[in-house]
């Protein structure tokens, strides 16, 4: 039985056994009453960790962030979408999901609930690959799960209503930067990705300015191809294997001076823009301020990259759809 004390609850580790991703802050409590921060939200829970503390009968203090009821509701909505056939029904159900998103996260609901629901429902990546991503860096792993959740939101608002299609968006977004999970991965490579996000086209220059090694530069500039090759090799990840091409568009710019191909805005399709935008919405960071104000974060997301990246239309569709359903909610029609 859990004993509540404020937001913190005392919890036995066996309660964590079924969870794959930590959905709150977990502290290990010593006999002297001292607390150690053990797990942060959004990272994978190692089964060995659970096993170890189960044998030790360790006592943990836990601050949950995700709402299990919300997660279950999202999952049931996704399942309903899965079994619909006609485009009108699919569109209406997608609208229902967006409406629910607004109702939950418009009232301060934690974004992690949506992230975990999406992870449970759509993640189709082999466990060893996920572990590799997680072992490379936990913050990078967390970023991929957040970006992938945004891809679902963007997919639905950009008129992609078919379950297999949005599932593919999720997995592609997760695997987009898999190429950087290399032996030569470093803090600099992660920061270069962030720089590329903040100021499109500046990632490589930033690495050079930081006097990064040739291997680091290579990891950064070749990671789209590596990710693409990996997805091509693992065909089971995607329902539509042809969508793997999207990975090659992740660092393309509107002007056509991105890498690796230099594709201009006019040749970037909406499905590529959806994934590209979802990736750029989240940086590799140790914490995110937008988790409880995700709608404000989306609406105020007006930085430079929206002009420089070929994603403006996808972004406008997202905000348009959110405003539309918000108005419906307000008017009650």
């Amino acid at each position: 039985m859990n004993l509540k004390s404020g937001n913190m609850i005392t919890i036995a580790i066996k309660d964590f056994a079924k969870k794959k991703i930590c959905d709150g802050h977990l502290f290990l409590k010593t006999k002297e009453g001292r607390r150690f921060y053990v797990l942060k939200p959004g990272i994978l829970i190692d089964p060995a960790f659970v096993k170890k503390h189960a044998s030790l009968n360790s006592v943990f203090e836990y601050e949950p962030l995700a709402d299990q009821a919300v997660i279950q509701r999202y999952i049931s909505l996704f399942r309903e979408l899965k079994y619909l056939q006609f485009e009108k029904d699919l569109r209406l159900k997608s609208g229902e999901i967006l409406q629910y998103f607004l109702s939950v996260h418009g009232n301060g609901g934690h974004f992690l609930s949506f992230v975990l629901a999406c992870y449970q429902e759509f993640c189709n990546i082999p466990q060893e690959t996920l572990l590799k991503m997680h072992d490379t860096e936990i913050h990078y792993f967390r970023k991929t799960t957040y970006s992938a959740a945004f891809s679902i939101l963007l997919g639905l608002s950009n008129d992609f209503y078919h379950y297999p299609m949005i599932k593919d968006f999720y997995n592609i977004t997760m695997m987009l930067d898999y190429g950087i999970c290399d032996n030569n991965y470093s803090y600099f490579v992660a920061q270069a990705c962030n720089q590329e996000n903040l100021n499109p086209g500046s990632g490589r220059d930033w690495l050079v300015a930081q006097k990064a090694s040739a291997q680091e530069l290579n990891v950064f500039s070749k990671h789209p191809e590596k990710s693409y090759e990996f997805i091509k090799m693992n065909k089971d990840i995607l329902s539509h294997p042809e969508l793997a091409e999207i990975v090659m568009y992740q660092h393309e710019l509107s002007a056509g001076n991105g890498f690796p191909r230099g594709i201009p805005k006019g040749l970037v399709s909406s499905w590529e823009a959806v994934v590209l935008l979802a990736d750029s919405l989240v940086d590799i960071r140790d914490e995110y301020q937008f988790e409880t104000t995700v709608l404000d974060y989306i609406h105020n997301y007006q930085n430079k990259k929206l002009q420089e990246l070929p994603v403006n239309k996808a972004f406008q569709k997202l905000t348009q759809a959110l405003r539309y359903f918000d108005e419906i909610k307000d008017t009650g029609t």
Binding site: Q85, F86, E87, K88, R91, S94, G95, L98, L156, S157, N158, D159, F160, Y161, H162, P164, M165, H240, E242, L243, E245, G256, R261, G262, I263, P264, K265, G266, L267, S269, S270, W271, K313, Q316, K317, Q320, A321, R323, Y324, F325
Partner: protein, 836 residues
């Protein structure tokens, strides 16, 4: 534009359109003479050109056909890439297409070259077999901008299916992004998708001049033949396909003016696309569709009197027509599958003409006090004043008067389409009639025709009257036409008369002038009469159209009426039959009378009483059973305690006997061990005796050896060993003593335990006894085990002692032998010395 400099064009077409010429001139494109030594990059051809010959002569040059080639697939096979008719060059599309073709990249933003082109919508096709809703909306937009919706629908359907077949071959990837838009004259659809292992020839070679039996070719044929311009561009570097199809308003899409463009682009510059005019999210902006069957209606113009309009709504549930009342009675509207919204946008005014004196107004869905016009029929053109051109219709016989809501057919009900829908009303009537029937069955009293039946009858009557009214309308229209014709003839005659009178008047004027004037006036009059005739003819046609429309509507109304009549008659028949059956039942019941009813009731009461008695008996039986069961249960409960006690005692006795047995066994064991110990003691004593003897012998031997010298050291050693043995023996003896004491203790304990058993078995609680016994037995067994272990140790030690004893005896024997030998040896030595 730099690419245009490298272009060299050779014109082999018989006709060179001016638009094309001006295009090339503005782009400063090089033209080659027919005998030029330079090789052309592009050759203009037409139907009269021998393509094979040219393809052989100018290898590598791209062919541009200015007319439709005989075999399109063959044309592309021979190096053709563009077919553009001059009709396409007359508008903005021509230069755009040519730019896209010659510059090989598009690279042109449609919004720059084609500013009037606006995107009307976009959607994603994820499943090629689920496009119905999207297609409906696409066609809606095409239709609303007066483009060939049928051709567009046919194109889209066939093209999507063709792409689905390409997907089966692994050459096409989902999804398909579709965007569509229109300019003033052109409607365009652009599809883009990913493709793998693709070649333009995969499509171009499937283009046939006649419909093929092969599924793909058939689909492509119909798709391409439904467009005005078909542009298929494959972007090799990105493996993407862009299909742009254009339709021109006004121009007939046929074999002659169709355009084709097949190109493979190797560069990855931006391709021409329909510009984004704002963002169109399908999920956020769900366009409302109008039923285009209602699109023949004219826009209703607002009038203070509120004309009756037949209007169509946009929402799906409002695909209907309303016949509205005048403004004050807006609440009183009859809807025939109609809507009350947006009637201003799409509405139908049933026009007619009427003179002021004919303005008789009859109420339809309005209170009789208000003499306002509900229907206005006008035959005049829209430019004329409305007040002069309307005609009201007389009311129906037996029209509803007073409060509208009292009407049995909801004619005067508020304008909610749900309330006023005929089908729903029908259902309502049926349900109410059902209820009524149920009520009659309950009451079992026959009545006359119910209110609903009356309502139904009334409704049928009113529908009939409406039908009559429509017929009168039609008649009136026809009469109006006749009136117009008559007025036209009268006017013509009047004009002729006027002309004749003027001619008579002008007889007095000089002959030449008069003739001239007459001729002029005649001409003018002729012109006037011609105009009048033309106008009359136009009016005729308009009237004829309206009459046709009216007759169609009448037919439709009649159809509806017939159907409703049928339905109502059927329902009435059903209800009649139900009512008759109910009546029959009631009659049967009534025929049965009071007497037999009582008898039957008495019988049933008797049966019931019998059943009651039986049940009471059963109850008593069960009660007795239950009480007996309860007593037995109580007894069982009492017995069980005693039995449990007995069982416990039995168990304890059993345990007691077992323990006693164990005690006996252990006593026997102890006795056996005591015997053994005593025998061991006797052995020990004998050993001690032997030892003492040996010691004596040893001492003797030592004394003897002391005399003899060399055997002294050995004797000392033997002494030490003997001492050790003595101490060991002493230790063993002490242990023996201890063992003996322990055995005694054990014996004492056993006797105590036996006593305890005897005493406790009689006095104490069986459970305690058992516990104590168990404890004692445990102790005894432990002691036994200990004593056994000690005995085994003792045995081992006695064995050792025996061995030592044997060893000592051997030693003693040896020593004795040595001593004897030495004794024997010393006299010999002495004798020997003596001899020497």
């Amino acid at each position: 534009m730099e690419k245009m400099k490298d272009i060299a064009i050779l014109n082999l077409a018989s006709e060179f359109p001016l638009e094309l010429k001006s295009y090339f001139e503005t782009r400063k494109v090089n033209f080659l003479a027919s005998g030029s030594s330079l090789s052309p990059t592009h050759i203009l051809v037409d139907a009269s050109t021998n393509l094979k010959e040219i393809a052989l002569k100018y290898k590598g040059a791209l062919l541009i056909s200015l007319s439709q080639p005989v075999d399109v697939a063959e044309f592309y096979k021979l190096g053709g890439s563009l077919v553009v008719d001059k009709s396409w060059l007359k508008n903005d599309v021509g230069p755009f297409v040519l730019d896209k073709f010659f510059q090989e990249n598009g690279g042109i933003n449609l919004s720059e070259k084609f500013p009037s082109f606006q995107q009307q919508g976009s959607f994603i096709v994820s499943n090629p077999f689920g496009t119905g809703d999207y297609l409906d909306r696409l066609v809606y937009h095409a239709f609303s901008s007066d483009h060939g919706a049928i051709a567009i629908r046919s194109y889209f359907d066939n093209m999507v299916m063709f792409l689905a077949s390409l997907r089966d071959q692994g050459k096409m990837g989902m999804p398909i992004e579709v965007s569509y838009g229109a300019s003033q004259d052109i409607f365009g659809i652009q599809m883009q998708f990913n493709s793998q292992n693709f070649k333009v020839e995969d499509v171009s070679r499937k283009l046939k001049t006649n419909p093929s039996r092969k599924n793909e070719e058939y689909l492509l044929y119909h798709a391409v033949h439904s467009t005005g311009f078909f542009d298929f561009t494959y972007l090799e570097s990105l493996e993407k396909v862009f299909i742009t199809s254009l339709w021109m308003k006004g121009e007939r899409i046929d074999f002659e003016n169709r355009g084709y463009l097949f190109s493979t682009l190797k560069s990855s510059q931006a391709i021409a696309s329909i510009p984004e005019q704002g963002v169109q999210s399908f999920i956020a902006e769900e366009p409302e569709l109008i039923d285009f069957l209602d699109m023949n209606v004219e826009t209703a113009e607002a009038h203070e009197d509120g004309p009756i309009v037949i209007s169509g709504g946009e929402k799906e549930e409002e695909f209907s027509q309303t016949i509205k009342g005048s403004t004050p009675e807006e609440e009183f509207i009859q809807v025939i599958n109609g809507s009350n919204e947006k009637e201003k946008n799409v509405a139908q005014v049933i026009k007619g003409s009427a003179k002021e004196e004919d303005k008789t107004v009859f109420k339809f869905g309005a209170t009789p006090q208000k003499e306002e016009k509900d229907f206005r029929l006008s035959a005049a053109p829209s430019s004329e004043k409305k007040a002069d051109n309307f005609m009201a219709i007389k009311t129906l016989a037996g029209e509803p008067s007073g409060e509208g809501q009292k009407s049995p057919f909801n004619l005067l009900k508020p304008a909610g389409p749900k309330n006023l829908d005929l089908n729903r009303e029908k259902e309502f009537l049926l349900s109410t009639s059902n209820k009524k029937v149920a009520n009659t069955a309950e009451q079992a009293v026959p009545r006359g025709p119910s209110e609903n039946e009356k309502q139904l009858e009334l409704k049928v009557k009113t529908l009939n009257s409406e039908n009559d009214r429509m017929k009168t309308l039609l008649k009136m229209l026809i009469s109006e036409v006749k009136i117009v014709k008559e007025s036209r003839n009268a006017l013509a005659e009047q004009l002729r008369g006027e002309v004749a009178s003027e001619q008579i008047k002008n007889l007095e004027v000089p002959a030449e002038d008069k003739e001239n004037i007459l001729l002029n006036s005649l001409k003018a009059e002729e012109l006037k009469s011609k105009r009048l005739l033309i106008e009359a003819a136009q009016k005729d046609t308009l009237l004829a159209q309206e009459v046709e429309r009216g007759s169609k509507q009448l037919k439709a109304k009649e159809m509806i009426l017939d159907k409703t009549k049928e339905v109502f008659t059927k329902t009435i028949e059903k209800k009649d039959s139900e009512i008759s059956s109910l009546r029959q039942k009631v009659e049967e019941i009534s025929k049965l009378g009071v007497g037999p009813q009582l008898l039957t009731q008495q019988n049933t009461i008797k049966d019931m009483e019998k059943q009651n008695l039986n049940l009471n008996k059963m109850l008593e039986m069960y009660k007795a059973k239950v009480t007996s069961m309860a007593t037995s249960l109580q007894k069982q409960a009492v017995k069980t305690d005693e039995e449990v006690m007995k069982d416990d005692n039995r168990k304890l006795l059993m345990i007691n006997t077992q323990l006693k047995n164990q005690l006996d066994v252990s006593k026997k064991d102890i006795a056996r061990y005591q015997e053994k110990v005593s025998s061991e003691n006797t052995n020990l004593l004998t050993l001690k005796k032997e030892k003492a003897n040996l010691e004596i012998l040893l001492k003797k031997a030592i004394l003897a050896s002391n005399k003899e010298g060399p055997a002294l050291g050995v004797a000392n050693n033997h002494e030490q060993e003997l001492k050790k043995l003595q101490t060991h023996v002493q230790f063993v003896e002490s242990q023996h003593k201890e063992q003996g004491l322990k055995i005694k203790d054990l014996e004492a304990k056993l006797s105590e335990a036996a006593r305890m058993l005897k005493t406790q078995s009689t006095s104490e609680d069986p459970s305690r006894k058992a516990i104590q016994l168990e404890m004692n037995v445990k102790k005894l067994t432990q002691d036994l085990v200990e004593s056994r272990n000690q005995l085994t140790e003792m045995k081992k030690e006695t064995n050792k002692l025996r061995q030592e004893k044997v060893g000592l005896q051997n030693m003693m024997d040896k020593m004795k032998k040595d001593a004897e030998k030495e004794k024997n040896a010393t006299p010999k030595k002495a004798t020997g010395g003596k001899v020497a």
